[in-house]
Subunit: 223 residues, 2 copies
DNA sequence: TGACTATGAATGAACG
DNA sequence: CGTTCATTCATAGTCA
C-alpha cells in the first residue's frame, strides 16, 4: 500500500510528535489502517474458530521440500515470504565424523571445539556451529535416556512425579489451550468468568464479552 | 451498560464527537484499549491455531503420562489433548509483556522488579517469580550467545537463502503484519516502521518462530 | 495418504 | 553469569 501523502503530512508529523509524548492524535488514514488491522485479526479469529469447528480433514501444507531448499506454498499464493523452518540434515559423512568425535569421549564439546568441528564439517556440506552444538546436545541426551530406559527404570509406573529428579520444579500446570475448545465465543481463561475481557485487561465488560462486538461498538469499526 | 467513568468522560466524549466527524483524536485509554484488543486477537488467533494444530495433527497423545500434575476438567467437551507441562510456558501475553520489559528495561532483573513483574503476569496465567527470573536470565544469555555464535566461524558456505536467516533464532519481526497484507496492507503510522509492533508496545518480536506467521501459513487465512 | 519414528531445534530450569 | 541438562516442539523420512 502506498503512503497517503495527499492527505497531508501535517497529520503524520503531528502524530510523531504526539507519539513521543502521549501519542493521541492520529490521522484518518492511520485510524483507518488501525481499523483494518483489527478487523483482520477478528476475521482471522473467526475463521480459525470456524475452521476449528468444522474440524474437517484439513492438512497442513507446510511446503514443498526441494532437497535442502524450501519452497513455501503461500508464497505462490500470496507472493509472500518464506518463513518455514528448514532444519539441517547431516550428510552421512558429517554424521560419521560427529559420531567419531562423540565416541572419542570428551562428552564436553566445548565452544572452541564446536567451532573447529563446525568448520571442518563445513567442508562436507552446509552446517553451522549451532547445528553441531545441538547435535551433541541431543546425542548425549538421547543416548542417556535410552540407557536409563533400557535399565531398571522400566518400573516407576506409579507416576513418580515428584520423587524422581524434581528438586524444586514448579508445579505449573496451566495450558489454557483447553479453554479454547469452544472457539472464540467462549474464550474463558483459566475458568475465570471474565473471559476475554479479563484477558484484555478490561475492567468493565459492560459492552459485551465478545471482543469483536466490543471492538465494533467502541470504535465503530466495520462501519 | 455502564459508562466508563473511570476513564474520564471528557475523553470519551471527545472521541465520540470526533468519531462522528472524522474520528481522529483518541485518548490514551482508548489507544490502550486498542492495544489490548489487538493483543487479545493475536493471542486468540495463536491459541486457536495451536488448538487446531494439536487436534488435526497426527499426534496421538497417548494418554497422560504425567499423571497427577494436570487433569483437565473441561476436556470432556471436546476430548482434545491434555498436555500437562512440567515446566512453565509463557502465554503469548506474558511473553509479550516480558519482551517489553526486557527491551525497555535496564536489562536489570532486580529482585524487587521480579516480584512486580511476576504479580502482573500472574493475571494472565500461572507464573512464579522464579519463572520470571529464569526467563530474564535465559533471554540475556541467549541473545548474547547468538552473537558470539554467529560471528567468526568459517561457515562461508553459500547457505541457501532460508537457512541463512539467523543461524539460530528469531526470524520474526513485524513480519506477521505482512501476512495480513491481503486485506489490510501494512499498518504504518509513519510510512516507515512502527507498525503494529509499536502500537502494541512491541519493539521486537522474540519468539523463535512466530505463531502468527505460522497461522497464516498453515491456514492460508485472508486468502 | 495418514500415521509413525528419528532427530534437529527451542527453551525453561538447574548447575558451578 | 555462562554453560549444560531436560523436556518438548516441529519436521523429514518412511512404512503400511
Amino acid at each position: 500500500m502506498e503512503r497517503e501523502n495527499q492527505h497531508g503530512e501535517e497529520e503524520y508529523l503531528q502524530y510523531q510528535i504526539q507519539n513521543g509524548v502521549c501519542g493521541k492524535v492520529m490521522s484518518d488514514e492511520q485510524v483507518e489502517e488501525l481499523k483494518k488491522q483489527i478487523v483482520a485479526y477478528s476475521a482471522i479469529s473467526e475463521q480459525l474458530a470456524e475452521l476449528h469447528k468444522s474440524m474437517s480433514a484439513h492438512h497442513d501444507f507446510t511446503g514443498i521440500r526441494l532437497g535442502n531448499l524450501y519452497c513455501d506454498p503461500i508464497s505462490a499464493t500470496f507472493g509472500h515470504k518464506i518463513t518455514a523452518r528448514q532444519r539441517w540434515t547431516p550428510t552421512p559423512l558429517q554424521l560419521q565424523i560427529l559420531e567419531n568425535i562423540y565416541e572419542k569421549g570428551t562428552g564436553t564439546p566445548s565452544k572452541q571445539k564446536i567451532k573447529e568441528i563446525a568448520s571442518e564439517l563445513a567442508q562436507h556440506g552446509q552446517i553451522s556451529e549451532t547445528n553441531v552444538y545441538n547435535w551433541f546436545q541431543n546425542r548425549r541426551a538421547r543416548s542417556k535416556r535410552k540407557f536409563q530406559v533400557s535399565t531398571g527404570s522400566a518400573n516407576a509406573e506409579s507416576e513418580p512425579d515428584v520423587s524422581t529428579k524434581e528438586k524444586k520444579t514448579k508445579p505449573v500446570g496451566l495450558d489454557f489451550i483447553d479453554n479454547f475448545s469452544q472457539g472464540v465465543e467462549s474464550f474463558y481463561f483459566q475458568g475465570s468468568e471474565s473471559g476475554i475481557d479479563q484477558l484484555m485487561g478490561k475492567e468493565e465488560s459492560s459492552r459485551g464479552y465478545d471482543p469483536y462486538n466490543n471492538l465494533v461498538e467502541q470504535f465503530g469499526l466495520l462501519g
